[in-house]
């Protein structure tokens, strides 16, 4: 890209440079403060975690909490299982939802009509549905479909939750792609399907990646529906596992800190891989709504 030109931009304001970094450091500290706090606590032993006043640097650093979490794997918190479930649900949701949203987005973008616009407004309304309204009726539907306590039920639910937003992004994404290339291809004798695959999809690649990642993230951290729609521990997802450490008598901070950090890792990996796509995707989707 124009990287050397960008750096030229910074160099021209040398004083601001330092100020930038200072402000950035302060803001970053504010943003990452809780993570650092969790990190610090993951190395404390049981007693020190509850000490008053609290300390940043553990006086007796220990890996006890890490051991407990891993040991807990046998008893009550099989983390590999939970992470695995969350990955299954997350990936399936993102694939499924992106697929449906892309079809719909393409449809809305290319086939405008009064009827279609009406449906678009319907989707806008769907975006505004408050969560608590949906919970119980949705649970009833899942139950009637026989999908209670099945990961697929959760996948379907997450898809439904994410679909309105994803569709909207998708519409913006496809609208940003000029139709002339497709039309040229159609005139040349391609079927619509071929045109879609070979021409449109590659150009929409960025937005598709965004949708996939976004829906994965939302599915990963989702708690209320997972709580209601899952019944046995073998099917639990990561947020339910984390909730185990928050009992009514206490919050097992040392273990919660470790678990939070551990479960943050898969997400960060996935994010870093697809980082560029997110940024460009949100821009495209947002500016052509």
């Amino acid at each position: 890209m124009a990287s050397n030109q960008r750096n030229y931009f910074i160099r021209s304001i040398t004083v601001r440079n330092v100020l930038f970094w200072i402000i950035l450091a302060i803001l970053l500290l504010g943003v990452l403060f809780p993570i650092l706090w969790l990190f610090s606590n993951s190395f404390k032993n049981r007693m020190e975690v509850y000490k008053i006043p609290p300390t940043w640097i553990p006086k007796e650093p220990t890996l006890q909490a890490y051991k407990n979490v891993i040991a807990g794997v046998e008893q009550s918190t099989p983390w590999p299982l939970f992470i695995g479930n969350s990955i299954i649900v997350g990936v399936s949701t993102s694939v499924f939802a992106t697929f449906l949203a892309s079809l719909a987005g393409y449809g809305f973008a290319r086939f405008r009509s009064k009827g279609m616009d009406a449906f678009l407004i319907v989707i806008l309304f769907a975006l505004m549905l408050p969560g608590p309204v949906i919970i119980i009726p949705l649970a009833i539907i899942i139950q009637r479909m026989g999908l209670y306590d099945k990961l697929f039920g959760l996948i379907l639910t997450h898809t439904a939750l994410v679909l309105p937003f994803l569709t909207w992004l998708s519409v913006g994404n496809f609208r940003a792609i000029p139709p002339n290339l497709e039309e040229a291809a159609l005139l040349d004798g391609c079927t619509r399907m071929q045109a879609f695959i070979r021409i449109v999809l590659p150009m929409a690649r960025v937005g598709l990646a965004t949708s996939t990642i976004f829906s994965f993230l939302i599915s990963w951290g989702e708690y209320p529906f997972a709580l209601i729609l899952l019944g046995t521990r073998e099917h639990f997802t990561v947020p339910l596992g984390l909730a185990t450490y928050i009992t009514e008598f206490n919050t097992w901070w040392d273990q919660l800190a470790v678990a939070s950090l551990i479960t943050l890792i898969p997400v960060l990996i996935i994010l870093s891989i697809a980082h560029q796509h997110i940024r460009r995707g949100i821009l495209a989707g947002a500016t052509k709504g």
């Binding site: 919970i135 119980i136 099945k150 695959i197 909730a243």
Partner: protein, 442 residues
Amino acid sequence: MKNRMFKVTMFILASWMIIMTAGAVFAEKTAEKPVEVVFWYFGGLDTELRLFPKMIEEFNRQNPGIVVKGTHFPWDARDEKIMTGFRQKNLPDLITRDSMAVADLVGMEILVAFDVEFPDYYNSWEPRFIPEIWNQVSRLDGHKYGIGPYCSVGPMMIFDPELLESLGLEGVPETFEEFLDFARVVKQNGYIGVSLPASKATNDMMIFMDIAYANGGRWLSPDGKKVMVNGPAWVETLKLYDQLNKEGLIQRGAMQTDYVDALKLTVQGKAGLGMGKDWINAIVYDLGAPAEKIFNLTRFPRKKPSPGEYPPVGLTLEGGSDMMMMSTSKVKDAAIKFVDHYASEEVLRNWGGDPVRGRTPASFVAYDNPAFKKYNPFLYQQFKAETLFEDAIEAPNFRGLAEMYHILADAIHEVLLRNTTPQQALNKAQKQCQEVLDRYIQ
């Protein structure tokens, strides 16, 4: 070439989705051969959490034709899971819950009355349990809906005897005035006088209620039609809270401090006195108390003479982990066997201090467990003297209580925020609670 690749991908994608759907639907139809009993349990101490899977496994081994599948959920989720299960028509067969839930669950018509449907089992269990508990807890209109191994009792006060002695305080405060005096001395020496739990958590409200009851107050009039929360006992209790607050005898942020956080202050030596229910002893070591330190547990002080219009209560009894059977269950005959296992002496014994420490058992056999005498000397002594359950009544249990506790919390917060006086706050609460109650008694 690319076209074919695309078609193949689409085909794979589509068939994968179809397979997942089909798999999900078909998997449900495969029958299970042994009888399956679905059991949900909520919350509990760490030791209890480790106990339940073992207990379930032992039962499954001893009863080859039955498989109990137990799942643990966070305490916070107890209302959601049951409510949703109810609406989905997908309730488990057995649950363990606090006895306070009985009124609501009976109202939803989903509980089995053990004395009616399983009289033989019911009679066989009766002699194992302490009569005051057996006859009052988890009952509605005389029918018994829940069986549990322990009761939460309150109100209790906890303190470090060494600390108080070092400050020149002897003995134990027994009246409100003595309590305030103790707190003042503690404060003068640089500690927090009393660590007061005053958040909106239900347990905090129950502690407040316990004190009011111990002073002769009641939620409802005997006929159950009038809310009495603005009676003199309640006002005096709220006045005590107010006084503690005004004199700065409590920790800052009392309205954000729930029963656990308040306890942390006491056990770490930052506050001189603490309050709660009997489970205090169960968690002190987990909250940062030094390893072999003993904290004394005693009944919370009362106002003398008793201000309330009703007889003062010794302790309120709340079943914490009472097993209840859902009337929607299709495998009741199998499920009752598990309830029987839960109510067996071998299992009940576990709550006598080993491995579960800090609970007040409901069964006679648990008190015989030598561990109990060791870890809970105060309660053991009272039990032996047969004064433990003197004047003990069941913690109140009626529909609308959850909402009323929140209204009560509002009233307490209004006073602590110095916006109003105790009597006024409780008068307002009384009106609002009465509105709630009226919906149920029409």
